[in-house]
């Protein structure tokens, strides 16, 4: 056996790496096809007409089974949007989104099994939460939704990405449901007078990244259980 074969091993490995790297560079699409132009779900127009049902908040006689830390995610009643709520020791972050223009980030407090939250554009959320479920209503973009969202675990839940591109602050949010489906919206300029959201690029939950054109969005999980994002 030639005593120098370890050098050969290194060279072969380096060559393999170089070939794969060059091939990847050649294969990488210069401008990834915009996923935004695709499906734009029928927004707002029909939803506001929905009559406000009587408060779905169950009457809490005894405040039992109230978790200090929890994550909830689910579709709103009737579908058409998803909502995710994370509770971490009295603090709460929520996101509601229809994968298009209707979306809102909300912040608020959680106490005694009840949530009260507000966000930009007169967004409001009110809910009752227990170990297994959060039930309530949310108003975002002038649309009122009711929901009954189950508790979820990683990788399901809420993700947020913020990036600065050419001076504009991009903010994206994704709700990943227990069945693996996801819905997300992206605000191309959060400081604009009237932020208009669009469909967010697909989030790869294995890597926590999404690709908006040439911009890589690195998403942070918002988890009340771990405290991530709070």
């Amino acid at each position: 056996m030639n005593i120098k074969t370890p050098y050969l091993t290194l060279l072969v490995g380096a060559a393999l790496g170089a070939v794969l790297l060059v091939a990847s560079m050649l294969a990488t699409p210069k401008a990834p096809a915009s996923p935004i132009a695709a499906a734009t779900p029928a927004p707002a127009s029909s939803a506001p007409a929905q009559p406000a049902p009587s408060s779905p908040t169950p009457t809490a006689t005894a405040v039992a089974n109230v978790p200090a830390r929890a994550n909830y995610a689910g579709e709103v009643n009737g579908g058409g949007a998803s909502v995710a709520i994370s509770i971490h020791h009295g603090q709460a972050i929520a996101y509601v989104c229809n994968g298009s223009v209707i979306e809102a980030w909300l912040k608020g407090t959680a106490a005694n099994g009840h949530l009260t939250m507000t966000g930009k554009g007169h967004a409001r959320l009110s809910a009752t939460y227990r170990t297994k479920r959060a039930v309530g209503h949310v108003i975002a973009h002038g649309v009122r939704y009711t929901f009954s969202a189950p508790a979820v675990h990683k990788p399901s839940g809420l993700y947020r990405a913020i990036a600065i591109v050419r001076g504009a602050k991009i903010k994206a949010g994704w709700i990943v449901l227990p069945d693996g489906s996801q819905v997300g919206s992206l605000e191309p300029n959060t400081d604009a007078a009237a932020p208009s959201a669009t469909r967010a690029p697909v989030l790869d939950v294995t890597t926590g990244t999404a690709h908006d054109g040439n911009t890589v969005l690195v998403a942070t999980p918002i988890s009340g259980v771990t405290g991530s994002g709070f």
Binding site: Y7, T9, L20, T206, H211, N214
Partner: protein, 192 residues
């Protein structure tokens, strides 16, 4: 090698002095690890790299390749223990050296495409503890492997050198595997 003049002792000595035999490969290995890390950090991750068809996601491909590399790494440890006579009542068979060399080559070559995908598509990241440990150990693994390959052909080394380096390489790969493939399979289930 540019680093050599600094490591050669001041007295006229053979180029292959004891220190240089270990220090120069170590510096080169450290440079390899550092280069990978700096590239991964500076390069704007593309989120895309060529991959093997037939899997559900790049994560699945990489998890299976890494698992293959890890299995070969276990063969590495086992065969090394036999070669060094550390397993009672098992004499080293004649083919054990070949098994050790080829399982090592296989593990290394399986790990290379994974590393290329990691560095090109994802980059050196630190947004969670797992990801940071994975990034650091991934770079360290290739550095440690480089040192081991460069030192292998040298003769008259201290007897601890190769076992220590082997342990370093194996430890790094184990950490890399647990923070990636093991995490992937335990989070998403074992899938193709």
């Amino acid at each position: 090698m540019a680093t050599q003049p600094h490591t050669v002792p001041p007295r006229p000595a053979r180029a292959d002095s004891g220190a240089a035999k270990i220090v120069v490969p170590s510096l080169i290995g450290a440079l390899v690890a550092l280069t990978l890390g700096v590239y991964g950090h500076l390069h704007n991750p593309t989120g895309y790299a060529i991959n093997i068809a037939g899997f559900s996601s790049p994560g699945a491909v990489k998890s299976w390749l890494a698992t293959g590399a890890f299995v070969f790494a276990l063969v590495q440890v086992g065969s090394a223990l036999v070669m060094y006579g550390k397993i009672p009542r098992i004499a080293a068979p004649s083919w054990i050296g070949g098994l050790h060399r080829w399982s090592g080559r296989a593990a290394f070559l399986l790990a290379v495409p994974v590393a290329v995908h990691c560095l090109y598509a994802l980059g050196f990241q630190g947004y969670s503890t797992r990801v940071l440990i994975h990034s650091v150990l991934g770079c360290a693994f290739f550095g440690a492997f480089t040192i081991k390959m460069l030192i292998l052909p040298k003769s008259e080394l201290p007897s601890w050198t190769l076992p220590a380096l082997g342990a370093l390489v194996f430890t790094a790969l184990t950490g890399v595997w647990f923070t990636s493939a093991f995490w992937f399979f335990s989070t998403f289930g074992i899938r193709h």
